[in-house]
């Protein structure tokens, strides 16, 4: 009996801001320790849902606002273009090592597993098909997406969050300059462009390493591998890899810029923004991955 009542009291107190919540808070204090307690416990759930829905709408509203700002800011290409180029170079160079590293290991593991699953009844060239399609359709874009969600998602959220809490974003505003065209558009475009570029690189490296590795475990010739890779390969597979990376890049940068831009309350707020950005980016990548597979692979 005591448990739910305490929960109710805490939630009511924490949300005493809006009129609706103040009303519920009144309920809580009236019912505290009295016979209406079960009623109070019942109310906790709808109240929680109500809060979550309200919060969701607030976030959605803010996110749409930011999207509008981005679209409006696109006209100021003289401002965002040079910054975008710098940003793309920085992300590209900075991610080169980690992308090649991941791609190499992925290629090798894919090859070893394909070798393990391969049965003598199958022609050897099937290995080429398996390795290439696995990498291009799934592993290349998704692994690059997840790693860059950590790498640039965290960085962008931290950068913009710090700029928010140290009033640097207000300072830009105060100079009549648009934070969208100075800060957000260059980062978002970088995501849309650089993720596909890095994914193409990852696909190529992974395929080459996979090719080399599979030759170490099975007596497959280069001709077999190339034949298998080409036999089932459709040009759409390559586009699909790039389309996925394009969406992942946009999602990561939009989310991390959004959370960073709306950071509150100092260093702790920046920390929260970074965590939120990385977690949300990774979840969205998984959701997008499934959605795109359903929509595009039919």
């Amino acid at each position: 009996m005591e448990g739910p009542a305490r929960v109710g009291g805490t939630i009511g107190a924490a949300t005493g801001e809006t009129g609706c919540d103040a009303h519920w808070a009144g309920w809580t204090s009236v019912s505290w320790g009295s016979t209406i307690l079960p009623m109070n416990a019942v109310l906790v759930f709808p109240r929680f849902i109500g809060r979550a829905v309200l919060g969701g709408f607030t976030q959605l509203g803010r996110f749409s606002l930011l999207t509008f700002e981005i679209i409006r800011g696109l006209r100021e290409w003289r401002i965002w273009l040079p910054r975008t180029i710098t940003e793309m170079a920085s992300v590209g160079m900075g991610s080169l090592f980690i992308v090649i590293l991941i791609a190499s290991f992925t290629g090798a593991v894919t090859a070893f597993q394909a070798g393990y699953q391969w049965q003598t009844s199958l022609p050897l060239y099937v290995l080429g098909t398996l390795i290439v399609s696995n990498i291009v359709l799934e592993l290349g874009p998704v692994l690059v997406g997840l790693v860059l969600a950590g790498r640039i998602g965290a960085r962008y959220a931290a950068e913009l969050g710090t700029m928010r809490v140290t009033e640097q974003i207000d300072a830009l505003d105060s100079l009549g300059r648009s934070p969208a065209s100075h800060l957000i558009i260059p980062r978002v475009i970088t995501g849309f462009v650089m993720l596909p570029v890095l994914t193409i690189l990852a696909d190529l490296v992974a395929i080459l390493v996979g090719w080399y590795s599979v030759k170490q475990v099975l007596p497959i010739t280069d001709a077999d591998f190339i034949y298998g890779a080409q036999y089932y390969y459709r040009p759409f597979d390559g586009y699909y890899s790039i389309i996925k990376a394009f969406f992942f890049g946009g999602a990561i940068t939009l989310i991390s810029c959004y959370t960073g831009f709306n950071t509150k309350q100092g260093a702790e707020g920046v920390g929260r923004a970074v965590t939120a950005a990385v977690v949300a980016s990774m979840v969205i990548i998984l959701v997008l991955n499934a959605t795109l597979a359903r929509v595009l692979l039919n």
């Binding site: 003289r78 950068e159 140290t166 640097q168 300072a171 105060s174 100079l175 009549g176």
Partner: protein, 250 residues
């Protein structure tokens, strides 16, 4: 001309501005006084629209800042230099880039020679050596950062200047230089300015009029004489306490 009429602002439960009236005439410098936490920075941010009032009007240059729309607000803001209390310098850029961003005119901004000259000029005005341009904000002292913030605000030759405690944290010599600069911009270029300050002596020296913000409202806005002769207890308390502590603070 800057005019605030009946401005209310609260954050959650806390009422910060409770019907503030405030005006600055064309070409005038008004010192805004008030205890720490009285809402001076919040008031200043209303003037260039960084904070929206819950109620009341904010009129700058004949335009209502609250309803003017984002495009006009951006244009108006290029006319309003804002010196942030803690500098708010762009820490990923060097001092040169920081000040150059203050050039709101895009052709001036992209003109390498012009911006170089203007940045050097602004650094000189705030008494910083030209070499400072190559440093990053993290490599500067607190007072230097403050002065770079001032240089950035004046770089675009704005019509209005809002200073949030431009001299706090500066040594007396540099504080004097900044006070002189405020006065000079006012006298020679006809800049209209608001200067938030704790330093009553500096305020008396620089400002044409003073305003005291206390308990969410303007206790008094008027000339130096009106302040010294006022028998408003809030004004008396502030002046006496501050004159008392000023020599210690200096």
């Amino acid at each position: 001309m800057i005019e605030l009429i009946g401005v209310h602002k609260r954050f959650g439960e806390q009422v910060v501005l409770d019907g503030v009236d405030f005006d600055v005439r064309e070409g005038e410098t008004v010192a805004l006084l008030g205890a720490s936490g009285s809402g001076k920075s919040v008031l200043l941010k209303h003037i260039n629209g960084l904070i929206h009032p819950d109620a009341g009007q904010v009129i700058v240059d004949g335009q209502n800042v609250v309803t003017i729309g984002r495009k006009n607000l951006a244009r108006l803001r290029t006319q309003i230099g804002y010196v942030f209390q803690n500098g708010a310098l762009f820490d990923s850029m060097d001092v040169f880039e920081n000040i150059r961003l203050g050039l709101s005119d895009e052709t001036q901004y992209t003109d390498a020679e012009f911006s170089q000259d203007r940045v050097t000029e602004c650094l000189r005005l705030v008494n910083l050596p030209p070499e400072t341009a190559k440093k990053f904000p993290a490599e500067l002292s607190g007072g230097m950062r403050k002065r770079v913030g001032i240089a950035r605000a004046i770089a675009g030759r704005p019509k209005y200047l809002l200073y949030d405690e431009p001299t706090s944290g500066l040594d007396p010599v540099n504080a004097d230089i900044i006070d002189q600069l405020v006065k000079q911009l006012d006298n020679e270029l006809g800049v209209t300015s608001v200067m938030v300050t704790h330093d009553v002596r500096g305020a008396f020296r620089v400002a044409d009029r003073l305003a005291l913000l206390s308990e969410g409202t303007m206790a008094l806005q008027g000339t130096q004489e009106e302040f010294l002769q006022s028998d408003n207890p809030r004004v008396r308390e502030f002046l006496e306490r501050d004159f008392h502590t000023a020599p210690v603070a200096a």
